[in-house]
Assembly symmetry: C2
Homo-oligomer: 206 residues x 2
């Protein structure tokens, strides 16, 4: 009797191994042969699941994004604490999240000159903005100002901190990343607060 193979599961398995190799060796140096060796499948099987490295990179990117999303969704607490934990889940604080950043970097370097990848990157970036906007709104409370501008400012800082930390972990250990993020969070929430007070004052004078 033939063994029933869950092809979607196996495809993800291959992409996860590929993501590890891309993070460790860089996209240029990863070959189908190496992926086959690392997964234990033949190159024929790997080629069956992925037409080319481009397709493999797309799935590796999506899996890294899904992993980050799971870390974010694991945040506990409410309001500011939930926001803080969620954005920390994006920063390259440990090996797992550093790996994801390496995969994203590989993807972005292709996306810079590839319409389809660029569209995917924009779609993900906007999803992340929506997510962060919701979390900022939760931290500001119902009387808070529109969360779009603070969320964008926060995202800009997450990108900036991460891009530096990925390449210079000695200068950007987890502690420093957290401190930079906390300072930015405090500044952003304080900047949004006066308007929030004005809004409460306006609604109570009605």
């Amino acid at each position: 009797m033939p063994i029933v193979v869950d092809h979607e599961q196996r495809r993800r398995e291959v992409a996860e191994v590929a993501a590890d190799l891309i993070a460790r060796l860089g996209l240029e140096r990863v070959t189908v042969r190496e992926i086959a060796a690392a997964t234990g499948f033949s190159t024929t099987v790997v080629s069956h699941y992925f037409r080319d490295k481009r397709e493999l990179l797309m799935l590796a990117y999506r899996l890294a994004a899904a992993r980050a999303r799971r870390r974010i969704d694991a945040a506990t607490g409410d309001g500011t604490e939930r926001l803080r934990q969620s954005v920390e889940a994006i920063l390259p604080l440990d090996e797992a999240s550093r790996r994801d950043w390496h995969v994203w970097l590989a993807f972005w370097s292709v996306a810079a000159s590839d319409r389809e990848f660029a569209a995917e990157q924009r779609r993900r970036a906007r999803e992340t903005l929506d997510l962060v906007r919701g979390l900022v709104a939760g931290a500001l409370g119902p009387a808070g100002e529109d969360a779009t501008a603070p969320a964008e400012r926060l995202l800009t800082n997450i990108y900036g901190i991460s891009m530096q930390a990925v390449f210079d972990p000695a200068r950007w250990p987890a502690k420093r990343q957290r401190e930079a993020l906390d300072a930015e969070l405090a500044a952003i929430l304080t900047a949004a607060a006066p308007r929030r007070r004005r809004a409460s004052a306006a609604s109570s004078s009605r």
Copy 2:
């Protein structure tokens, strides 16, 4: 009589063309054959100047950094105005600077898993920090606080704005990048100002 060839000049010429191709097609898709076709040299000549794509990418990266440096050095004025113009020269505001960001991205994606490239990236990042620190110090004046923290905060924002603008120019046109930068500059210089006043007060009471 043989024509005297300036080999260093020709090597740079090849690397400049390679940088254009990397920015337009992505590192993965650029071949020595294409670089040869674009420069008009034979593949033998191109291979003579560059052992491999890695060596080519290193020089393309350095040339892009040198170009950005020339844009920065062209800033006029003093203090805050010079700082503003200098950091604007780094942002992907036009085609030339967007091209440089594409080359940097290609380089960084390799640097994420390559010791030598990573060391080069760190060296450049620290040079940029020193440059921005000097400019921030100039904007804060002689009584200003230490410029390191404000310079780092500014750099974080430059990376963050640029990474978003490179992939989503429709959402991040030059105007918006400038506005985000100006808001950040104002916040950074204002945050540094009270301590500056305290410093003046302390020195005048002596």
